[in-house]
Symmetry: C2
Subunit: 267 residues, 2 copies
Amino acid sequence: MQKSENPIGIFDSGIGGLTVYKALKEILPQERFVYLGDTARLPYGTKSRRTIVRFSLENAEFLLNFNIKSLVVACNTSSSVAIEELRKRYPDLVILGVIEPSARRALEMSPRGKIGVIGTEATIRSEKYQKILREGGAEVHSRACPLFVPLVEEGWIDHPVTRMVAREYLQGWSDRIDTLILGCTHYPVIKKAISLAVGQDKVLVESGQAVGLELKKILKERKLLRSSPSHEDDLFFVTDFLEKFERVSSLFLGRKVKIEERKFSLC
Amino acid sequence: MQKSENPIGIFDSGIGGLTVYKALKEILPQERFVYLGDTARLPYGTKSRRTIVRFSLENAEFLLNFNIKSLVVACNTSSSVAIEELRKRYPDLVILGVIEPSARRALEMSPRGKIGVIGTEATIRSEKYQKILREGGAEVHSRACPLFVPLVEEGWIDHPVTRMVAREYLQGWSDRIDTLILGCTHYPVIKKAISLAVGQDKVLVESGQAVGLELKKILKERKLLRSSPSHEDDLFFVTDFLEKFERVSSLFLGRKVKIEERKFSLC
């Protein structure tokens, strides 16, 4: 039995999902959150479906120790390939990925229904975004952009190489799309280079806000919203801790948070 | 008690270490090899020392199930940060990393002792190469090049972006070094772009051959070389299997090999 005072769990393959956490916290300020970044095994986007499903189930298992009332899969890759397995394993839990809310938001916002989606190899290969967008009547363009994540992690944000890579990946898209889904939590950081490559008149859709609004609606329907603010701190865990995370987290969140390391079994 | 007919174990974070396997097989054609690529958790180079040590010990444990007489750590990152722990844990096993042999070979080959070394963040941060080279009297330049691995994996081998990234990382090195250690198993694949950036007159040192010659010497001293060729096939394992591995392995090896997936516990 879920209780409204229980926290909301969020996992991502790394700390990029903190952008999703930030959006959720703004939309649901009374709620308490527990965040897990699987930094020991990232990235997920280049790995097989089977392995991504296994990692995702283990992450969920860890968060369930905190009696979460709801699980948000902030990672686009996990959302693309593991959400059905998660829902099958935990039928009583409200489980929300980033794909469906972002795709629906793109359909709402797109002026002429010409929508592009970029993400990791696994996300694009899964065809999840493309399917929902096509069912919504859109003309869809998609492309995996595997170098964007390492470029962000290298800190080459406003860098000629990043602009050149974006141009290479998104060549010709300027005339083809009016809306672009940033289908990976890292991409908002290099939004400027992406926007220059596709044309600055395009609508860019990020995951966080779409997911936050949807989660609020669902929790309200199920009477699972907290009636008063939580007085306990949100918790942040990673499976491999690097000093730089606390610095980087303050870039994402505008404040420094305490991040703890947890190891867990992978069998 | 080690027996000469036992196989040699090799591990790497991925399948890049097959370049090391290939060199070992050429130098030690009578021997049998068991290879493990920890593709479910790669890359290692961006992770913490503690986590890399843990992963390395688990990989060794897996290979010991095959009664290996010797362990080659093909991964530069593991060699940099985990080799002492491995030797402490398995004092009776011949354990060879890629760092020491490659550094000694660079010292032998360098015309004027001006040596550069490039690798992952963890390899460069460990200062292992730099220490051996300085003790050998060299003037040392070092730099982490985290984008080279994703560029190789994206297949952008002879690509303007790769040349631009190489120029950015190695700016000014042309006048500073006469020899360059490619301190990561992926780098030989983009040797041309690296060579253009540092000047084509430079000596490039790769890991495989240096390690093979050293291993042969040690096994001979300990009377652990096989006296007749093994008739059993070499074995190749990964922790996450992707279709593309068999195709990529044929690029590395000139032949296709059968690769099996194994999961193992991480506790």
